[in-house]
């Protein structure tokens, strides 16, 4: 029987972590994601024995994740934009040491202390490698509370499959809004020796978790290995949703919550006789370049809508390679665009095509 519940996005994500058999969560309060830490503090330990620890800072949180992830346990943290900035050093170490873990960024408007309202301005930080060095996170962008829940188990699976940190990039609105969610069944926490985990020496040779390789040629070998892994991820893990794109004259590209707003705008446009589809990248890394390009060849233009100054639009343009015009509409500082506004922009940009 389906287990349905009305839940806040942050709480659905926390509940999903417990059910995914997560072993440990380390976090620090920050709006608009504190419900994750609060929910887990209340629920997790008594139900599955999961460790939940409020750290003294995001810097400590991410380094606790590093330590615990090195043992091969299922470990996670969550934060919001300023907190994620503090974690970037640790994330770089985790990516280099190839430790599987789940990171969650409930994005708020920036820069600086910014606002506690939703934003998508951490796209670059999330997708292009926010810390130092050449590394990639697998980045998933949910657009519903259901996906906030579903992507948790998926993220752990991907993290362990590739020994790579996975980031769920969501926003303050999805974190706070309540929707119906179908919960996943409870998985038992399990542990296996994966051959690289540091849980106490086995077979006479100590294992080392490190990101230090002092010799340049050795560091390059590691870099080559990481890049080969990222190419493999690009090959296997592209996820996207194309709504009404097959017969569309125009496509709106958007991720996360904004894609839902744009779907409403597309419906309104179709009611007016303008054939609009919505292309929503779900995996932001790997980005669905080829898939978007295929659609781009069939339409007259693309409007990219984001809650930032224009970040994903750079990847959209890389996909389209100048085949059709790509316009951008963005709201910043925590302002969420309305469907009417998106429709208006669509008509404005493609006015020639509409008439």
């Amino acid at each position: 029987m389906k287990e349905l519940k009305l839940m806040k996005g942050n709480e659905a994500l926390a509940e999903a972590a417990i059910r995914a058999g997560c072993d440990a969560y380390f976090g620090y309060p920050i709006t608009p994601q504190s419900e994750v830490l609060e929910y887990l503090s209340r629920e997790a330990n008594s139900r599955t024995g999961m460790t939940v620890l409020q750290a003294e800072s995001e810097i400590a949180s991410i380094n606790m994740v590093y330590g615990a992830a090195g043992t091969g346990k299922r470990v996670m943290t969550s934060s919001s934009s300023p907190g994620m900035s503090l974690m970037q050093e640790g994330i770089s170490y985790i990516a280099c040491a190839e430790l599987p873990c789940l990171l969650v960024n409930v994005n708020r408007g920036g820069p600086g202390l910014g606002t506690i309202q939703p934003g998508q301005s951490d796209y670059f930080q999330s997708v292009k490698g926010g810390g130092h060095g050449d590394y990639k996170l697998i980045v998933l962008a949910p657009s519903t509370v259901q996906e906030m829940s579903d992507f948790v188990g998926l993220s752990f699976d991907l993290a362990f499959k590739y020994r790579n940190p996975v980031l769920i990039l969501t926003d303050g609105a999805l974190g706070q809004m309540m929707e119906k969610v179908e919960l996943q069944p409870q998985k038992t926490r399990h542990f296996e020796d994966l051959g690289w985990t540091t849980t106490g020496r086995k077979n006479g040779n100590g294992r080392v978790i490190t990101s230090l390789h002092l010799k340049a040629d050795e560091m390059e070998i590691l870099n080559n290995h990481l890049q080969a892994k990222y190419r493999e991820i690009e090959k296997n893990e592209i996820r996207f949703e194309a709504t009404d794109c097959d017969d569309a004259d125009y496509i709106i590209t958007a991720f996360g919550l904004v894609a839902r707003i744009c779907q409403k705008a597309a419906e309104m446009a179709r009611a007016k006789g303008i054939k609009v589809g919505v292309f929503r990248p779900i995996s932001l890394f790997p980005f669905p370049y080829a898939q978007l390009k295929e659609y781009a060849g069939k339409v007259k233009g693309i409007l990219d809508v984001e809650m930032n100054a224009g970040q994903m639009v750079e990847d959209v343009r890389l996909s389209v390679e100048g085949a059709v015009p790509v316009y951008f509409h963005g709201r910043m500082g925590g302002v969420v665009p309305s469907p009417e506004e998106v429709l208006e922009k669509l008509e404005e940009k493609f006015a020639g095509g509409v008439k």
């Binding site: 620890l53 750290a55 590093y66 330590g67 992830a69 043992t71 470990v75 100590g206 294992r207 080392v208």
Partner: protein, 277 residues
């Protein structure tokens, strides 16, 4: 090989041949070969790190916990501690070793966990992690090597650099008016309810080496009993960056470091268990 060495070798071989010398009761020195790798030493001649690594290895071997311990290496000269210690180890970002150790210990509470950190790592960039790890009373050992200087980066001023002590970033001596006073972080963490055993030792003389070993042994025994954080400061030297030879550096440590950082137990759970006997 010169003639003298050849003679010495011959003498040594003759000694080994004599059964009386090889008897078990005559054993005065044994390398903890199960825990120490046979590897070339990267530490400078006379550096205290090598001695502390060895003591750790001896204690781990003697306690028989080789398969039940995870160590955390810092950023600094001892970043490569895992090249000497044949145990599972994790290398931490600068200052974060105690947070990394916390993460490990929280998911593997039955294992022994220690962090090995220098003064810049533990008492400057990692002060927050150090204090909060101790305050939570994480059941780990924090082994703190204090030589009053940033060794690996080439002799810059550390939080523990003595007043008027010269370094590359205090070339006229540490001016406490503008650079602050040395931080006695060991006394600070002893104030926290989470710490169970806090002591300051050294390895510059044989007697102190023995006391430090005893402290490490005791810390792991307390960890087994889940008593809280054990914190051992080892006042050490840095001949290269102090610009002294090893003997001079130990003398300088005795005359300058120890008056400011007095040796002995700072917090002990039981008077009868004191290291200062």
């Amino acid at each position: 090989m010169n003639e003298k060495t050849m003679l010495d070798d011959q003498h040594y071989e003759n000694m080994i041949a004599e059964e009386s010398v090889c008897n078990a009761e005559n054993l005065v020195y044994e390398k903890p070969s199960k825990v120490l790798y046979d590897t070339p030493m990267h530490y400078c001649p006379g550096c205290g790190h090598g001695v502390v690594h060895r003591l750790l290895a001896e204690v781990i071997e003697e306690l028989g916990i080789t398969s039940d311990i995870i160590g955390v290496a810092p950023v600094g000269c001892s970043v490569l501690a895992y090249n000497y210690l044949n145990i599972d180890m994790s290398e931490a970002a600068h200052g974060r070793a105690s947070a990394v150790a916390t993460g490990i210990k929280r998911v593997l509470p039955e294992k022994y966990v220690f962090s090995y950190q220098g003064d810049g790592d533990l008492a400057a960039i990692g002060t927050g992690e150090t204090i909060h790890t101790c305050n939570r009373g994480e059941n780990i050992l924090i082994l703190f090597i204090n030589n009053g200087i940033y060794g690996m980066t080439g002799g810059q001023m550390a939080p523990t650099t003595l007043p008027n002590m010269k370094s590359t970033t205090s070339p006229f001596g540490r001016d406490v008016e503008t650079m602050g006073s040395p931080l006695k972080i060991t006394e600070l963490v002893a104030q926290l309810p989470g710490t169970y055993y806090v002591t300051r030792q050294s390895v510059h003389k044989p007697v102190n080496v023995r006391k430090t070993k005893k402290a490490i042994l005791k810390a792991f025994e307390y960890q087994k009993l889940k008593k809280g954080t054990c914190f051992i400061e080892v006042v050490s030297n840095c001949p290269s960056n102090w610009k002294m030879n090893p003997v001079e550096s130990n003398k300088w440590l005795d005359e300058n470091m120890l008056p400011f950082y007095p040796l002995g137990d700072i917090k002990v759970p039981d008077k009868n268990l004191q290291t200062d006997d």
